[in-house]
């Protein structure tokens, strides 16, 4: 039996093409079934199939008149048809040396007549065949062959169209991701300007030799605050970068007393207008202390930013096997239409100069701890953001 394998380089390229068209193992499809229907009817045969020739198997995209999903790749028939550009015709398979050993011929099916056109991509690779089959030996006319060729072209057109559509969607997704990344970088670098400017201004004031003790202390306080802000921005950016491509963030869960965690987070703000109310007893939460601190910082930062110096009330309490940290402000509030989207990546409110990342990251980190964040708001009156985490005892 002569070898029916292509030189390996060509076969490798052909298999690459088969992968690229993403057709193997896809569900049955009317567009392809109609073609085999037309082919069988026009050539007046009981069987017509569309096959894709894989490395070790022949997979059927459409099979009319025969019930089969795939068969082993054997010499002859589709395996041979896929290696040439002209139609492959066998008028009596039992007598043709190329095919007389083939399982389809010797076996139950008793295939006698086979005519196939290769499915040739624009790039010149043969993915598989469109063929017509009979269990009686017969010839095929020029018209039938021409029609088969045309139908094969229709199959290829269909495959090309679908590939182009998929590629367009993928390109669009990449463009969106790049645009988002650019917006985030621009937003963060903008936001950094203010704390950097303040720090610089503070440091030059600190060089004055007439500073009172009070002024010096106030400068140090502001320095800490703006350095904290800068640190938060850098952290936010790093977190965002590590999450690109929808990677899950790493969290370290342990039973954590949230009272000191919240207190420490609030310390960074040095703001008289922020109050903390703890409704004891507060059981330990099953949480990542550092991520939780980050979330609380973000919620408080948000609240102070949008409350324009007004009071911000932080409350910590237990409810139904959860621990809840709520941050309430009396600022502008959030429009009901926007409420659903505040936690989306890159959502920015109408007056926001932020990156739109903070609340998104808060949500991601809350969910990664098996908790969540929620918001309640009244336009014109203020908002309350709440972080909800499971208690440690729920898990034991």
């Amino acid at each position: 039996m002569p070898s029916t394998r292509l030189p390996s380089a060509d076969e490798a390229a052909r298999l690459d093409a088969v992968r690229r068209y993403d057709i193997l193992d896809t569900p049955p499809d009317g567009s392809f079934d109609r073609i085999t229907q037309l082919a069988a009817r026009f050539c007046q045969v009981p069987i017509s199939t569309i096959t894709i020739v894989d490395r070790e198997r022949i997979w059927f995209k459409s099979a009319r008149g025969v019930d089969v999903d795939e068969i082993e790749r054997e010499p002859g028939l589709c395996s041979s048809a896929v290696m040439q550009l002209e139609p492959y015709v066998v008028t009596d398979a039992r007598l043709d040396p190329r095919t007389l050993d083939n399982a389809l011929v010797c076996g139950e099916l008793g295939l006698r007549f086979y005519a196939a056109v290769p499915l040739t991509t624009r790039g010149g690779h043969n993915l598989g065949t469109l063929n017509v089959i009979d269990v009686e030996p017969r010839d095929i006319s020029e018209d039938e062959l021409a029609t088969l060729r045309d139908l094969g072209d229709v199959v290829v057109d269909e495959l090309e169209l679908r590939l182009a559509a998929r590629e367009r969607v993928a390109a669009e997704a990449m463009r969106e991701a790049a645009a988002l990344r650019d917006a985030v970088v621009a937003g963060i670098s903008h936001e950094m300007r203010t704390p950097l400017g303040v720090l610089r201004g503070i440091m030059s004031l600190q060089e004055a030799d007439d500073l009172t003790a009070d002024e010096a202390e106030e400068l140090r306080t502001k320095q800490r605050r703006h350095l904290g802000h800068l640190t938060r921005l850098v952290q936010r950016f790093l977190d965002y970068a590590s999450l690109e491509g929808d990677r899950r963030p790493a969290v370290d869960l342990a039973p954590v007393d949230l009272v000191p965690v919240v207190e420490e987070a609030l310390d960074l703000f040095d703001d008289q207008a922020i109050t903390l109310h703890v409704e004891a007893p507060v059981p330990a939460a099953l949480a990542d202390a550092s991520r939780t601190s980050q979330i609380v910082e973000e919620l408080v930062n948000n609240a102070t930013r949008f409350s324009h110096g007004g009071p911000v009330e932080v409350a910590l309490r237990a409810a139904d096997e959860t621990v809840r940290v709520s941050v309430a402000d009396h600022g502008d509030g959030i429009h009901p239409d926007d409420l659903q989207r505040v936690f989306d990546r890159a959502f920015r409110g109408p007056d926001s100069t932020g990156t739109g990342l903070g609340l998104y990251l808060a949500r991601v980190f809350a969910e990664e701890q098996d908790g969540h964040v929620e918001v309640d708001s009244t336009l014109g009156a203020g908002s309350t953001f709440t972080l909800v985490l499971p208690t440690a005892s729920t898990r034991t």
């Binding site: 300007r193 950097l196 303040v198 106030e218 100069t353």
Partner: protein, 121 residues
């Protein structure tokens, strides 16, 4: 000799900083936390110059600058100076400085006619 400067910025620490620097240079500073407050102050007081943030509640820095630049040296001190904004400032004959450029701002102030002797030698 007018020794008053208007500083408008919604960020209290920026106001604090600018007030501290300007006071040491012999200026008296009136602070506004919003664009609206700034406009109110402008209309009721005389200033030697106006230093304005851009993104503020109420009126924006640009809106305030449109009024103030008619009669006094005005600078927009902001992190958001894009080319379009800069072009508008040129039209108004108004200076635009990045938020990080405190040195540039102090040079502007020192260059004002009637700049008083600094309080600190």
């Amino acid at each position: 000799m007018n020794r008053r400067i208007l500083v408008a910025d919604d960020e209290p620490d920026i106001r604090f900083l600018l007030e501290a620097h300007l006071r040491r240079r012999g200026w008296q500073v009136d602070e506004a936390a919003t664009g609206t407050e700034a406009l109110d102050l402008l209309r009721t007081h005389e200033y030697a110059a106006a230093i304005l943030d851009h993104r503020m509640p109420g009126a924006s820095g640009l809106e305030v600058a449109r009024e103030s630049s008619v009669s006094l040296p005005t600078v927009l001190f902001s992190a958001y100076l894009d080319p379009q904004l800069r072009a508008e400032l040129v039209e108004l004959d108004c200076l635009g400085l990045d938020k990080q450029d405190l040195d540039g701002l102090l040079r502007f102030v020192d260059g004002l006619s009637g700049a008083p002797e600094p309080a600190v030698p």
